[in-house]
């Protein structure tokens, strides 16, 4: 009777005013057989990390367009560490300049997808890496 499903939180930190992109990714992940928790716009780092904890997700996908990733992402990753949520696979998507990628990866964000990344790429990434981090 075991029935393991990949659970994933798609979250939008910051003050972006729309979430079309995040929703497209969320729906694609659902269509790939995953359980996608979607929390809407303007999530604080605290809300995101608390949701990761309560929902016990395997994966956290962060989406940001506003350019505030260097303030929000480190906060989120620190809180994750504090709460001992190191097993969660984290990726990000949105408009993130080249020079920020390395520092973000050092924080533990495993992959960063630029705008226009095909959803298949994201799905493949999740499927390949989620087992490893469990």
């Amino acid at each position: 009777m075991t029935e393991k499903k990949i659970r994933i939180l798609v979250a939008k930190p910051g003050l972006d005013s729309h979430d079309r992109g995040a929703k497209v990714v969320a729906r694609a992940l659902r269509d790939a057989g995953m359980e996608v928790i979607y929390t809407g716009l303007r999530q604080t780092p605290e809300q995101i990390v608390e949701t990761v904890l309560q929902e016990d997700v395997d994966v956290l996908g962060l989406s940001i367009l506003s350019g505030a990733h260097m303030t929000h992402f480190p906060k989120i990753m620190n809180l994750m560490k504090q709460k001992d949520l190191k097993d969660v696979l984290v990726f990000a998507g949105g408009i993130i300049p080249e020079e920020d990628i390395e520092p973000l990866q050092k924080l533990g964000i495993r992959e960063i997808f630029g705008p226009g990344t095909p959803t298949e790429t994201v799905i493949d990434f999740v499927k390949k890496n989620v087992q490893k981090s469990r």
Binding site: R27, L29, G33, M34, Q54, D56
Partner: protein, 320 residues
């Protein structure tokens, strides 16, 4: 044993992470799941469980958010289980109820869990009852369950929640269909949400007429409450009615309902255990494939095949 007892020990102390892990175990049906449920069973039965059901988009999640706020003001701790449907095609699910509740997520007295049905019929997940127990044992005073929003045959909530709130909205679905769906029969309290809309009073009159037509269960007359979940108007009145219903139940019907709920569960457990037992035994002997072939060639029908399988296993255990 170690994993299960560790999780249970810390969830009994209210540790949120342990609560979350325990829920995943029961959802996934892991080898620890039954041990976890067994260990925490003696610690359950304290929480008040309330079901919130109704068609998609009537405002269940928004209403729950306001209910939780009001309950928190009264010093109560709250668990929320929000169920959404699994897509039968992909097996995936979009769990969006939290969108309306995110402001509660950092409140330590609140635990919210989204849950997919994983193709369980009836508007709930198979693990919903066990999740109620986990939240109950972790010390939550009140547990709110949001069923999937299809509103057709999603009536399993009465098997779990002693108090069921049916949420309707003006202009949503025609009355006849609602009656057919049986949803009118499961409501202890009716809410006309989106009362900021013009036709709300008309909806109240319609529902009242419909309830008078229906058969009454016991002495309780289901009240109808108007709410505007977006502003919170009517929410404290709804809580009052919920309180009154609890009071009413405690005067007699509670133990009856509890008995029914437990019986329902026992039946379910027996079915599951026996089915699992028989299927595993048949599979081991290759007899399952045998029966499938016989079915395909129309040598036997499914019911007779089940009978044959059952007899085989019963005679064998007698011999032992």
């Amino acid at each position: 044993m170690a994993v299960a007892s560790q999780i249970v020990t810390s969830l009994l102390q209210g540790n949120q992470r342990a609560v979350a892990k325990a829920i995943t175990h029961v959802e996934d049906g892991t080898s620890e799941a039954e041990k976890i449920t067994a260990l925490l069973y003696p610690h359950t039965g304290k929480a008040q469980v309330i079901g919130i059901t109704g068609s998609g988009g009537v405002g269940k999640s928004t209403l729950i958010e306001k209910l939780v706020r009001e309950l928190r003001r009264g010093g109560k701790t709250v668990g929320v289980i929000a169920v959404d449907p699994t897509s039968p095609f992909s097996g995936g699910a979009f769990l969006g109820d939290r969108i309306r509740m995110q402001d509660l997520s950092t409140d330590e007295g609140v635990f919210i869990r989204s849950m997919a049905t994983r193709n369980n019929p009836g508007g709930l997940a198979r693990a919903t009852m066990d999740t109620v127990r986990i939240l109950d044992a972790s010390g939550k005073d009140i547990i709110l369950i949001e069923t999937v929003g299809a509103g057709q045959s999603e009536v399993d909530i009465i098997k779990i929640a002693p108090t069921v709130v049916v949420v309707l909205a003006p202009g949503f679905g025609d009355a006849i269909q609602t009656i057919k769906a049986g949803i009118m029969e499961i409501g202890d309290i009716f809410v006309i949400n989106k009362a900021d809309r013009e036709s709300a009073d008309k909806a109240v009159i319609n529902i009242r007429a419909m309830l008078q037509l229906g058969t009454q269960r016991g002495k309780w007359i289901p009240p109808i409450v108007k709410t505007t979940a977006t502003t919170g108007a009517g929410v404290s009145e709804l809580l009052e009615k919920i309180g009154e219903h609890r009071e009413y139940l405690s005067k007699g019907e509670a133990s009856q309902r509890q008995r029914r709920i437990v019986r329902e569960e026992l039946e379910e457990a027996i079915k599951r255990k026996t089915a699992e037992h028989i299927l595993t035994a048949l599979q081991k002997e290759g007899e399952l494939d045998n029966l499938i072939s016989k079915l395909l060639s129309k040598e036997i029908d499914p019911m007779s095949a089940a009978e044959e399988a059952l007899n085989r296993i019963l005679t064998r255990s007698k011999r032992r």
